[in-house]
């Protein structure tokens, strides 16, 4: 029988095949939610979906796209925003 804490779905289960050909269950923490665009709420590309301790060890360039509003807005929304900015300039 699993422990009481393992009966809820707070931890995700990983099935591991042992050398003795038995499958055991390992419990891991769940990944954080996917990052979404602040404007249109679509999923952002180029942003890692990992636990904070893994993200903290990554280089800065691996964490978000290298463009203005990278990691906040999607590319389409950034384009629209910058287009408006260019058109409003005299």
């Amino acid at each position: 029988m699993p422990r009481g804490m393992h009966k809820s779905n707070t931890l995700r289960k990983v099935f591991v095949r042992t050398p003795g050909s038995k499958t055991t269950i390992h419990y891991r923490k769940r990944k954080p939610s996917k990052t979404i665009c602040g404007n249109c709420k679509t999923q952002l590309a180029g942003v890692p979906r990992e636990r904070p301790y893994k993200v903290a060890n990554m280089p800065k360039t691996a964490k978000r796209p290298e463009r203005p509003y990278g990691g906040v807005l999607c590319s389409a929304c950034t384009r629209k925003l910058l287009q408006q900015k260019a058109r409003s300039e005299k």
């Binding site: 290298e66 203005p68 590319s75 910058l82 260019a86 058109r87 300039e89």
Partner: protein
């Protein structure tokens, strides 16, 4: 007849130079132009550009220096290539050697002090002998 003639100011919309201003330096075909200014000088698709109302008088295929002069007149920033100079790594000094180096001169100093202490005695003794010799020769 597209908007992107030579000398047209534009803003980059896509890529890592997005939001920066540039000038069309050369038109390649209906879709592609070469840009320079506050961006990396490169060939881009005109879909990645948003034209601005202004135009500058520059030559076709103008060099980066010419574009730089024109941009400085307008008071716009210019993207310059950063020179790739490798930074010197700080040399690591071994701690053991350092302690030895520190200890050795201290010992030498002590020896030197001892020598100094010993030498003056000789010095005092020697002149007396010399004087004695001198006095002897005089007597002779």
């Amino acid at each position: 007849m597209s908007l992107f003639e030579v000398g047209r100011l534009a803003m980059k919309i896509a890529g890592r130079d997005a939001g920066r201003k540039c000038v069309v330096v050369e038109t390649i075909d209906n879709n592609f132009v070469t840009i320079d200014g506050d961006v990396r000088r490169k060939k881009v698709n005109i879909k990645h550009l948003e034209p601005l109302t202004e135009t500058i008088d520059i030559k076709d295929k103008a060099s980066h220096d010419e574009v730089k002069k024109a941009f400085e007149k307008l008071g716009l920033p210019v993207w310059d290539k950063k020179s790739k100079k490798p930074t010197e790594r700080p040399k690591q000094i071994r701690k053991k050697n350092k302690s030895k180096v520190e200890e050795k001169p201290a010992k030498k100093e002590k020896k030197a002090e001892k020598k100094k202490a010993a030498e003056p005695v000789k010095e005092k003794a020697e002149p007396s002998i010399e004087k004695a010799v001198e006095t002897e020769t005089k007597k002779e």
